[in-house]
């Protein structure tokens, strides 16, 4: 049975279709990400699950039970808010204990569980502090502990790492994943960061303009993007169509090809069976440390972006490529035809 099920759910704000006919099954115990640019409807979906907002049409089920008309405080889900929403007039311990206090759990049990939760998020000994005395990363952990203490069956996380700097974010990604595996409950994770979604999720749904473009495991979504939007949003992709496509594949049908799948050869390189190729001139070189990104103007019109590992080249070497004629070669099997959704 699905932990969360969306059945043709729409949420319109006036003329704006924030969520538009979304149907989704999120399995029990999985780490599921809702990925999309801002305004694509992913946070609205989260709020619909939590009960802060209501669908204009369609139904949502939690563990097989329709939740229409059930207020947030009667739903067995908890939320980690984007701004953490810690209560400023309570200590860290009181914040974490809030859900238990509301449920009238006896103080001795309450204290024990608060301690256990704070240890889990590595904030043992911080119970007496005020939220304002904590760093961003620590506040984030308090918010997590507070949401987990009620032992919900589903935890909703709304861009929880958005306010943290890169290093801390990467560290928290690993910790969050570890905690999810430890407690074994469903995590529904909203993010606009495709890398974050790819690293952490068991499965993810890509949102655009209130619609779900694709649902699948990270590798599947990355390797087989269903639409041009997914190809462009999840990782970087070249979108090839029209005359350029015809020059490469013999057909004007649109396809995408990842920049890292393309190899850059000398202009007279031999072509084996099963390979695509096209000639062009390097217009632009961007040295990025581990790899270099080239933009190549194609003789057939249009351009392709190519990335190459900097295996033994230095930045000086790669800069010398500018203006050089090249032949771009890749296995035909990496071409992905996609649906254009605009």
């Amino acid at each position: 049975m699905a932990a969360v099920r969306f059945l043709h759910v729409s949420r319109h704000f006036g003329d704006v279709k924030a969520v538009d006919h979304v149907s989704l099954d999120i399995h029990d115990g999985e780490f599921f990400s809702l990925l999309g640019p801002s305004g694509s409807g992913k946070t609205t979906c989260l709020r619909l699950i939590a009960g802060f907002d209501h669908p204009t049409a369609g139904a949502i089920e939690l563990h097989g039970v329709g939740v229409s008309g059930i207020p947030p405080y009667e739903r067995d889900v908890n939320t980690v808010f984007q701004d953490y929403a810690l209560f400023p007039h309570m200590s860290v311990g009181q914040n974490v204990a809030y859900g238990l206090m509301i449920k009238r759990v006896p103080p001795t049990e309450r204290d024990a569980r608060v301690r256990e939760m704070l240890d889990l998020v590595r904030l043992g000994g911080m119970a007496e502090r005020r939220p304002s005395q904590l760093s961003g990363g620590q506040r984030q952990r308090v918010a997590l502990a507070r949401a987990l203490i009620n032992r919900p069956r589903v935890l909703l996380l709304d861009e929880p790492l958005g306010a943290l700097d890169l290093k801390l974010r990467q560290q928290m990604q690993i910790e969050l994943k570890a905690i999810q595996q430890h407690v074994g409950i469903t995590f529904i994770y909203v993010t606009h960061d495709q890398e974050e979604a790819l690293t952490m999720s068991d499965r993810l749904a890509v949102f655009n303009n209130g619609r779900v473009e694709q649902v699948g495991a990270p590798a599947e979504v990355y390797e087989h993007p269903a639409t041009d939007f997914v190809a462009g949003f999840v990782g970087v992709s070249n979108l090839v169509s029209g005359e350029t496509a015809r020059a490469i594949t013999g057909s004007p049908e649109t396809f995408t090809i990842r920049p890292e799948k393309i190899l850059m050869h000398e202009p007279d390189a031999a072509i084996e069976d099963g390979l695509c190729w096209i000639d062009g001139r390097v217009r632009d070189v961007v040295y990025l440390g581990p790899h270099t990104r080239y933009r190549v103007d194609l003789d057939a019109g249009g351009e392709l972006t190519v990335t190459q590992q900097n295996v033994d080249s230095t930045s000086l070497d790669v800069q010398a490529a500018r203006g050089r004629r090249v032949r771009l070669v890749w296995p035909r099997a990496h071409n992905r035809s996609v649906i254009t959704t605009g």
Partner: protein, 303 residues
């Protein structure tokens, strides 16, 4: 499930009902009691007083408004409006130096202190502040004492000898009233003017100077136009408060009545509530036009 829990859930399912429950008490009070009273005021102004019985005749008539338009009553309206205009103009001028100093020169702490120094008189007892001038303007009081010390008696006598604004002494003249009105309403002008001045970026003044304007020119061409919405916002208060006041004329005036006094007299001793109501319709109409004009200048953003 406890009753409150059930109630909470049904309110969750009917957010409009929850909103209505929140709104009902303030709406009942302000919408029914207050607006109801205001409309009863307008309704009463269309009733009339029976001259023989002294009872209010509850029948629609324009007779009360005819009474209002008699020369004696129009005198009262014109006098009040004239005073309101004079006080407003003077307040705009008097507010500028302090507001300008606060906005441009005062240190953060100094500004906070000055802000409080303007705020306190604005909030504190208005009656007591009027009362203090009764002491100051008294014939044997501190102002006359100072005038005599400075040998300015001649100048004061000349001022009091002027027609209309003069009188036997400062404590019974339009001039004295003007000083007191200005005193009590000035804080209402200072605060919006200060807010408007504070919003003028430093770079505007530098740009003006850079383009060759002298300080006086910058003041006229840049500062004044940009401060105008603040002045207009302040003028709404000074004008409207002067129009409706009866304490100052009562404490310091002579036999020449103001709208507020007329209202008070008609509703009190003579029991002529219709005429009192008609009198208050006058400041309401004046203020309605004033607010419409002020809205066009964007002064409401400065409030």
């Amino acid at each position: 499930m406890p009753v409150t829990r059930r109630l909470a859930i049904s309110l969750y399912r009917h957010p409009r009902v929850a909103l209505l429950l929140l709104l009902a008490p303030p709406l009942l009070w302000l919408g029914v009691v207050y607006l109801g009273s205001l409309s009863s005021l307008v309704v009463q102004s269309f009733f009339s007083l029976d001259g023989f019985t002294g009872q209010v005749v509850r029948r629609f008539t324009l007779a009360t408004y005819r009474d209002l338009l008699t020369p004696a009553n129009m005198d009262i309206v014109m006098r009040t409006a004239g005073m309101a205009a004079a006080v407003t103009l003077a307040a705009a001028v008097a507010a500028f130096p302090l507001a300008y100093y606060m906005a441009r020169y005062a240190s953060p702490r100094g500004k906070a202190a000055l802000y409080l120094a303007v705020l306190l008189p604005l909030w504190s007892s208005y009656l007591v502040r009027v009362f203090s001038w009764k002491l100051i303007l008294a014939k044997e009081g501190i102002l006359n004492w100072t005038v005599q010390r400075l040998a300015l008696g001649g100048a004061l006598d000349w001022l009091l000898g002027l027609p209309v604004i003069g009188g036997p002494s400062l404590s019974v003249s339009l001039l004295g009233m003007f000083v007191v009105f200005l005193y009590v309403w000035l804080p209402y002008m200072i605060l919006p003017v200060e807010a408007a001045l504070e919003r003028i970026p430093e770079s505007f003044l530098e740009a003006s100077a850079d383009l060759g304007a002298r300080p006086g020119q910058t003041f006229r061409q840049v500062i004044l136009p940009l401060a105008l919405p603040g002045v207009i916002a302040g003028s709404i208060f000074t004008f409207s408060l002067t129009l409706g006041d009866f304490i100052v004329p009562y404490a310091l005036g002579n036999s020449a009545l103001f709208i507020g006094q007329a209202v008070l007299a008609h509703q009190g001793t003579s029991g002529n509530i219709p005429l009192a109501a008609a009198f208050t319709v006058v400041p309401m109409v004046i203020m309605a036009f004033y607010l419409l004009a002020a809205k066009r200048t964007g002064a409401f953003d400065a409030l």
